[in-house]
Amino acid sequence: MSRPIEEKLLFEKDHPGRVGASVPPCDVPEADPRKVLGDMVRASAPALLPEMSEVDVVRHFTRLSTYNYAVDFGLYPLGSCTMKYNPKINEEVARLEGFARLHPLQPESTTQGALELMGTLQHALCAITGMDACTLQPAAGAHGEFTGVQLIRAYLEDQGDARKVMLIPDSAHGTNPASAHFAGYAIEQIQSGPDGCVDLEALKARMRPDVAAIMLTVPNTLGIFEKNIAQICRILHANGSQVYVDGANLNALMGITRPGDWGADVMHINLHKTFSTPHGGGGPGAGPVACKSHLEPYLPRPVLAKKEGRYLWDLERPKSIGKVLGFHGNFLVLVRALCYIETMGAEGLKRASELAVLNANYMRAKLKPLLELGFDGPTLHEVVFCDKGLPGGVTTLDLAKRLIDYGFHPPTVYFPLIVHGALMIEPTETEPREEMDRFVDAVAAIVKEAEETPAFVKAAPHNAYRRRLDEVAAARNPRLTFKP
């Protein structure tokens, strides 16, 4: 193909009289909406829904798709996002009619295959995390955080010991404080030490009875393993507090070490990161929560149970925090995740983590001559560089935009917040070495360009479907819908 075809908005393609779908003829008498619904009948059609032929629709979205970058094209090194390859067999099995067309409220006797699948996945997630119980209901990582923090809260209240404060390191993802906040906690940020880890002494000093829990991402968003994690758990527990682990970075740890064994009480898992389910341009994901047995009574209803060899939904959960989603979680995402786990097996998952860490360290080693590290300590599955030393006044954003011209998706930028102009790089284990080399070469070329022609770099991207987009203008004068 040549350059992407410029495609208008759907509403600019509206063509009255065109038809995009065929509705079967009605085999019952047509009802008169006005008679049935009275004046609650819709007075005017939704004017903006376009009329298009099937051809128009297919071309519209096919053309739009060509403006996107994707994992199936190449490296997508968004840190803490684990943009690993999305296996094709997962997509195939998730589309089997016996899964895709199941109604969530069918009697359990008619859904044993689906329930067995969920039970098997719960077991696998417990085995991987070292936890005792699991809920598959949360729809994403942040949803899992919220659920997990609610479990802590319900447990503590049940102990008669409601507490107010959630401790969260400054390196944490924004969802952590937000999730804790919506569970009613006051957030207290704790500063990372010079090694990027929790300052143990400061933590000890903060141990007062108002501390409900700590939320830790392990390895953290710098890619650093929280070396004192076991001790942290002990400190918190001694204070009557709980430990929440954000499992977004579990991809570094499978088969190597388990949060449950450190002493953590509860964690969420991003199936759309560690377990290869696609990101879909922003979801759907799934954020199961795994916990120790003392938190199990509080899990969202209903809980999957097994009686006399049959699975069923147990609704009688008096201590449950209640539902967090309308039905049983993002089932079709769960299907994919189990397909991945069974494909990999115990050894394969461990190997995935090992190679994820190897790839990240390889990138680190190759990029170190070009960029400055955010923190110096050993890192696992991802590495964070800072903008110090970028020549020619070129910023992290400029570097990122110029990478687009080289055919790469940029890393996560300006996060974590504790690193100036952060560039957070996570290649994942599914990246071949040559692809990483290609990326390193691109960074080297850009650094050179930054020295020689900084203005050119600052004006990037030059070859993308769009030049740099004005985000400030968009926020200042929000235009959120098409106006005819």
Binding site: N86, F182, P278
Partner: protein
């Protein structure tokens, strides 16, 4: 392993570049005593051909609406998704992309979101919409939090006729935030009891949530409801739409005085999927825009002044505002949103209305067929594609199943006061014959 490109030779070379001896050296920062000693307690890897058969076996150990016409609705409606949708979703450019953080290489996703926002606003009669939420239930909870931010009151009135799971999620979300959740009863017509509503409104009430249609399938007189909300600090009116298809035929909440609309848009081209992934949304008036939860896309221009789209109003979001964000949501339901966008473009304003009309007609036909067997609607209010009747509910589902039908929903599970109430849904996918068969089956129960 086919997903792991590194060969032994690659590994050797990469270890060399890193400057370590072995892969396990890379994990030196993990204290020895925390390392897992044995292998994970999981089965061995399974080869793709074998695994595929295993999943086929699992899938056929369920009996779905493929073999049995489905009269079950209750928040999940069996509609047909035209073939192009899934094939477009399968384009790697869409499904293997992340959230569009780098707009210059994500215009495909961004333009589609902008189109979705426009169509959802149009369908609901609102000014703006977000880019999706987890599902209908959580959208109700997010709506309550949003209404509180706008109105400041801490009491939420929710119609008892709103989907029970949605009400439960609302409670879970607000439990520790000092909210009071008060239920407003329904009348004999199945509609909101307006007198009770008026009595319940206080200055602390920030929001009234009413189902449209409600859980009983009954279409509320939303204008009357809006009229019942009076006073100085009058609460916001939020419509909860669990069956988005109804928007094509029922007066949009925006035209009835609602301030926000939340709900579930899975009916727009997504599979039933045993409950997920689904597609929550909120749309609202322009003035409330900055209180919306979730992603929002806005129009802008690039350096050459060409139209383009970006994620916008991000200062509402957790990655910038952390605990002060309007919501903790991050990954949402992007690909589901895309499916709905394709669906709406495919159906068009006329197709969607035709389909909605057909749903209405099927339900009306089923109602009449049941009446002919002596089974009467539980409520007198008007309905869309779902309605409640009075039958021996415990027996009904089994009897239907024996007649190769997926029966309805036993209202007694959630409403002790409606024991024997049975919720039936008839979409375009049930035939006249199936309706007749169901009527015969239910009519035959004592």
């Amino acid at each position: 392993m086919r997903y792991l490109p590194a060969s032994e030779e690659d590994i050797r070379q990469m270890l060399g570049a890193v400057g370590v001896q072995s892969v396990s050296d890379l994990f030196a920062s993990i204290p020895e005593d925390l390392r897992l000693k044995g292998p994970l307690d999981l089965p061995e890897a399974v080869a793709e051909p074998v695994l595929r058969e295993r999943f086929v076996t699992r899938s056929v150990r369920n009996s779905s609406p493929t073999c049995r016409p489905c009269f079950l609705g209750a928040g999940a409606y069996d509609h047909y998704a035209p073939a192009p949708i899934d094939q477009l979703l399968m384009r790697a450019e869409f499904y293997t992309a992340y959230t569009p953080y780098q707009p210059e290489m994500a215009q495909g996703t961004l333009q589609a979101i902008f189109e979705f926002q426009t169509m959802m606003a149009d369908l609901t009669g609102m000014d703006v919409s977000n880019a999706s939420l987890y599902d209908g239930a959580s959208s109700v909870a997010e709506a309550a939090l949003m209404a509180h931010r706008i109105h400041k009151g801490k009491t939420v009135l929710v119609a008892r006729s709103v989907h029970p799971a949605y009400r439960e999620v609302l409670r879970t979300y607000t439990k520790h935030l000092g909210f009071t959740i008060t239920e407003v009863p329904f009348g004999a017509d199945g509609r909101l009891d307006l007198a009770a509503l008026k009595a319940a409104v206080t200055p602390d009430v920030c929001l009234l949530l009413a189902g449209q249609p409600n859980f009983f399938g009954v279409v509320e007189d939303l204008k009357a409801v809006a009229g019942a909300l009076a006073g100085d600090k009058k609460p916001l009116l939020g419509a909860v739409v669990a069956e988005a298809l109804s928007l094509a035929l029922i007066e949009p909440p925006g035209a009835c005085g609602a301030d926000l609309v939340c709900g579930e848009a899975r009916s727009f081209g997504l599979p039933l999927g045993y409950g997920g992934p689904y597609l929550g949304f909120i749309s609202t008036r322009q003035a409330n825009m900055r209180q919306l939860p979730g992603r929002i896309v806005g129009e802008t221009v690039d350096a050459e002044n060409r139209r383009g789209f970006v994620l916008t109003l991000t200062t509402r979001e957790q990655h910038i505002r952390r605990e002060k964000a309007t919501s903790n949501i991050c990954s949402n339901e992007g690909l589901c949103m895309l499916a709905a966008t394709i669906y709406l473009a495919t159906m068009g304003r006329k197709g969607l209305r035709d389909l909605a009309l057909q749903n209405l007609s099927k339900a009306e036909y089923l109602k009449e067929a049941l009446k002919a067997k002596g089974i009467k609607p539980l409520f007198s209010g008007p309905t869309f594609n779902e309605f409640a009747v009075k039958v021996p509910a415990e027996k009904a589902t089994d009897a239907a199943y024996k007649a190769d039908l997926l029966g309805g929903y036993d209202l007694g599970k959630d409403y002790p006061e409606l024991a024997g109430g049975y919720l039936l849904c008839a979409t375009e996918r049930v035939s006249k014959l199936a309706c007749d068969r169901l009527a015969a089956v239910l009519g035959g129960l004592s």
